[in-house]
């Protein structure tokens, strides 16, 4: 009975992690390369893998395919598809993705996938796996900021992050008032491997434990207060650890003081062109951390025959050969082949320490993870989101308005009870449908409003963005994530405000961490994608392209930021 209960809990967690996953579910953008055409008569196998190792794996696979290794008289050809770890496992379990090999970011996904597979079929999805690369989860921080906290002489951890996050003086408390408030980032625990590991690490630290975390622990007021205290410093969440790394590198210390990243992303940031404004360093929390160990295994499903199995084994052997492992090291990963020594760039010159982490945290049982997620929903930083939708006449074309209605309504459903929502539509002029209302009050009527939108008129895009941002600036609340989400299917045709005036108005200046972020959706083929991208980039938010086919997934991905 106990086993059954655990399986049920696992299934619930897997469901949460996977079914809420959007089009860019876990790490970075999904850039599937599975469309590569296999040569005629090739023995083709597919690997679905966590996208954080994309650069290394794609290069290695190109080399492997060039070798034309033979199985049963046919040359092996490997097709690759980069996805978030949760999504790739879900797709293979559902048979939507008939990959022969999978390689998610951490072994937890294999464990969860096998639990679900056993419950459904009595068999594992992957019976054996081995790491192809490794990287620990770290707190990435700008070096001058880490030094202001006493690093490297003083070991830092979650308690230090909490102290800084709660201090209203921010960096001034460390003698650095010019750095403003402490601004922190990590991905959404329900969508991302590193986000979930961050939440568990915070809970462990709050409970003063390194092992044996219980449901009672995560529900303790002191633990909830610990997690809430850190989360208050979060700039926003998101589905992609890689996105955080790129934004932190581009935005500098004014945007994020620190973020939870994989160690290899710290190295990547320090070797980026152009160089970031300061070196970034990896803090290995003194309370312990987790490994991202990239387990790779053959899928136990009927579409994997004996020859495909042999081909998979040959490919994995290739990945673990010295040249490919040395290449992984150059990309900032710790090699999984034990005979390849760890050296540069795993060193202090690149902001990391090969002798860390000193200790790890125990992955808690499924029911504890579930309780932690429940706790997080109340502890997370609340958001005030303004949803700004284009209802100009062109939205009637090709069914755009109908799909946008559904996506917007679903988006409202994904926000937390403690979040606040403002709703605006625009055609020839902007019009508020509601402002600054708690989700508990506006969720149902707001969804009804979205589902009853009708299109007509011109496109006052710039006026709408200006009005929305101005209203958000007028909100005195300084403790929420503030964002505007703009969906538009065409160029501005009638605004009194110019684009330059809009860009000036939304520019957050040097301390961009507290900016009002404007997420944009260029909807349909006639959307002003370049303009919308400029608007989102000015606020260091994210620009999306959407169509009637995927607009709901776009909205779901945006929801991961809150």
């Amino acid at each position: 009975m106990k086993t059954f209960i655990v399986l049920v809990v696992i299934a619930i967690i897997v469901g949460i992690l996977w079914t809420r996953t959007g089009p860019t579910p876990d790490e970075a953008q999904p850039t599937p390369t599975s469309t590569q055409a296999a040569p005629p008569d090739a023995l083709t196998i597919r690997i679905a893998y966590g996208s954080e190792k994309q650069a290394w794996l794609e290069a290695a696979t190109t080399q492997f395919n060039a070798r034309k290794v033979q199985v049963a008289g046919k040359a092996i050809y490997v097709q690759t598809v980069a996805k978030g770890s949760g999504e790739l496992v879900e797709d293979v379990l559902a048979g939507r993705e008939q990959a022969h090999l999978i390689s998610p970011a951490s072994a937890a996904f294999i464990t969860l996938a096998n639990a679900q597979s056993r419950a459904a079929t009595g068999k594992d999805l992957v019976s054996k796996s081995e790491s192809v690369v490794l990287s620990p989860v770290v707190i990435a921080m700008w070096q001058p900021m880490a030094e202001a906290l006493g690093w490297p002489q003083t070991r830092l951890g979650w308690a230090d992050i909490l102290t800084l996050a709660k201090d209203p003086q921010g960096w001034a408390s460390k003698g650095q008032p010019q750095w403003g408030r402490f601004r922190f980032g990590h991905t959404h625990p329900e969508f991302s491997n590193s986000g979930l590991q961050t939440l568990l690490a915070e809970a462990y630290a709050g409970a003063g434990k390194r092992t044996g975390l219980t449901v009672e622990d995560v529900q303790q007021p002191a633990v909830v207060a610990f997690v809430t205290g850190i989360e208050r410093a979060v700039v926003h969440y998101g589905s992609s650890t890689g996105f955080f790394a790129k934004r932190m590198t581009a935005g500098g210390p004014g945007y994020l003081s620190a973020a939870v990243l994989y160690e290899n992303l710290v190295i990547e940031a320090n070797t980026a062109t152009p160089k970031p404004s300061f070196p970034m360093v990896a803090i290995y929390p003194k309370e312990g951390t987790f490994w991202s160990d990239h387990p790779t295994g053959i899928v136990e499903r009927p579409w994997v025959g004996a020859n495909e199995r042999l081909a998979c084994e040959a490919y994995v052997r290739f990945l673990l050969e010295r040249p490919q492992q040395e290449s992984a090291l150059r990309f900032g990963f710790r090699p999984a082949a034990v005979d390849v020594a760890v050296g540069a760039p795993i060193d202090s010159a690149h902001g990391v320490d090969a002798k860390e982490p000193s200790t790890t945290l125990e992955t808690p049982p499924a029911e504890v993870i579930s309780a932690a997620m429940t706790m997080w929903r109340s502890a997370k930083k609340p958001a005030h989101v303004a949803l700004v939708l284009d209802i100009s006449g062109s939205m009637e074309e090709d069914g755009k308005i109908a799909a946008a209605r559904d996506g917007a309504a679903e988006f409202i459903g994904l926000l937390a009870d403690g979040d606040r929502l403002s709703l605006m539509t625009f055609n020839s002029t902007p019009q508020w449908l509601g402002q600054n209302q708690l989700l508990t009050a506006i969720r149902t009527p707001g969804q009804a409003q979205m589902r009853s939108l009708i299109a007509g008129g011109k496109t006052a895009l710039y006026d709408a963005v200006s009005a929305a941002v101005a209203a958000m600036k007028a909100d005195p609340d300084q403790d929420s994530i503030k964002a505007v989400i703009v969906l538009s299917d065409g160029a501005d045709t009638t605004s009194s405000t110019s684009l330059e005036q809009v860009l000036t108005a939304i520019d957050p200046g040097p301390e961009s961490g507290g900016a009002i972020r404007v997420f944009t959706i260029a909807y349909g083929k006639d959307a002003a994608g370049d303009v919308l991208k400029r608007i989102s980039e000015t606020t260091q938010a994210k620009a999306y392209k959407g169509s009637t086919g995927d607009i709901r997934l776009v909205f779901r991905d945006i929801a991961t930021f809150f």
């Binding site: 092992t211 490994w291 042999l310 034990v338 000193s358």
Partner: protein, 395 residues
């Protein structure tokens, strides 16, 4: 303890029970009377292509070998070298735990050689095989190499301990320290002391660890039911196993994880001596030196190789499998086994000569002479020990 709460033998326990006696007896006989092994086949005349050992379409004979992953590096070397002298024979290696290999054979997986970590499982396997095929399973059996159990530690952490552990009872005290490394060595940043051993129901080395900790707790050369059922021992076992950081189905996999993830994953493990030796140099390229100590009492694993007398084996496959076993027993291969940390099954291959890891690596704690070697527990004792362990650990 009331009878109705007494541990009962599991299926797996039954699988293991009868064989430990036979295995140890067989091992003792091998140690005392091992015969010289055949010479190596002719010198290599061709070379394999480096890189991918993809299946060779031109191979005339193909054989499958199930082997314990503790012999992984040696076996992979042997297959490559064997291919040089027998290019028309293809050897497919299948890494399997000792019990897993037995189950695969009984399920009809067409293996030609089974090379588990020890002969503990062979008697029970033989009985099951005879029920199925009405004849003995092995056309030939040989001892490839010997190895005892060791504790392997990260040197920095071993040296930081105020009292270096020499036994399972010592280790149990360390993992039970409520403040972890803060209390053990004034190093709170190291967390709790993380010690691991393989799963007793999945791995020969895990079973060995369980037997040795039981002997150690009772300070007895022989074990009976009274010791296994002793309430004090059951309590001690439960407490100890709660502090164990990880259980793996494979000794080699666990050792590899220790090297890859360093002391963040494991401060120490109980593994085969050969496995520890094999990873010593790799560890230096990662996290630093390893230090080896020998739990007292100790026990041998004999690494048998069985040529399977199976209906699916052709005459050509049997002959090829026999030649592969000959190759494994050749002085060349036995010296390679020594390089990988095994004590050769061929007594003609000395281990006290320059180049031997037992000489070269002595500074890491390696030693040739073992402490006390225990006597074999009865099948009933092993069965109840495994059942008690399952109750204690709940997994």
């Amino acid at each position: 303890m009331p009878d109705d709460t007494a541990p009962k033998a599991t299926f797996l326990g039954k699988v293991v029970i009868l064989l430990i006696l036979a295995g140890c007896g067989f091992l003792a006989w091998k140690l005392l009377f091992a015969k010289p092994q055949p010479a190596a086949p002719t010198a290599p005349t061709t070379s394999t292509t480096p890189g991918l050992p993809a299946p060779r379409s031109g191979a005339a004979v193909r054989i499958s070998v199930a082997y314990g992953t503790e012999k992984d590096r040696w076996m992979k070397w042997a297959v490559e070298e064997f291919a040089k002298v027998e290019p028309n024979t293809q050897v497919d290696l299948l890494g399997k735990g000792s019990l897993e290999g037995a189950q695969a054979l009984l399920a009809g997986e067409q293996l030609n050689i089974w090379a588990p970590a020890s002969s503990l499982y062979s008697a029970n396997f033989t009985a099951d095989w005879q029920v199925k095929f009405s004849k003995a399973p092995f056309a030939r059996s040989e001892t490839l190499a010997l190895t005892p159990m060791v504790f392997v530690w990260w040197t920095e952490r071993f040296q930081a301990l105020k009292q270096p552990p020499q036994s399972f009872r010592d280790v149990a005290k360390l993992v039970a320290e409520p403040t972890g490394w803060a209390g053990l060595a004034g190093k709170p940043e190291w967390g709790f002391l993380k010690f691991g051993h393989a799963h007793p129901n999945q791995s020969n080395s895990g079973l060995m660890a369980l037997v040795l900790m039981t002997h150690d707790y009772h300070q007895a050369r022989t074990l009976g039911m009274a010791q296994v059922m002793d309430a004090g021992f059951q309590t001690w076992l439960t407490t100890f196993e709660k502090g164990v950081a990880g259980l793996s189905g494979s000794t080699g996999t666990q050792m590899k994880e220790m090297v890859l993830k360093g002391p963040s994953a494991f401060d120490g493990l109980c593994v085969y001596e050969s496995v520890a030796i094999d990873y010593l140099r790799n560890a230096q390229g990662r996290w630093g030196d390893l230090h080896i100590t020998y739990p007292s009492p100790n026990a041998w694993s004999d690494n048998p190789a069985y040529l399977i007398d199976a209906p699916w084996s052709s005459t050509e496959q049997r002959a090829a499998a026999g030649r592969f076993i000959d190759f494994l027993l050749s002085p060349t291969s036995q010296r390679k086994a020594l390089e990988h940390g095994f004590r050769p099954g061929d007594p003609a291959v000395p281990i006290k000569e320059p180049g031997s890891p037992f000489i070269e690596l002595a500074k890491y704690g390696l030693r040739i002479d073992l402490p006390q070697v225990v006597e074999t527990p009865s099948g009933e004792v092993i069965s109840n020990l495994l059942a008690g362990w399952q109750r204690a650990v709940g997994r």
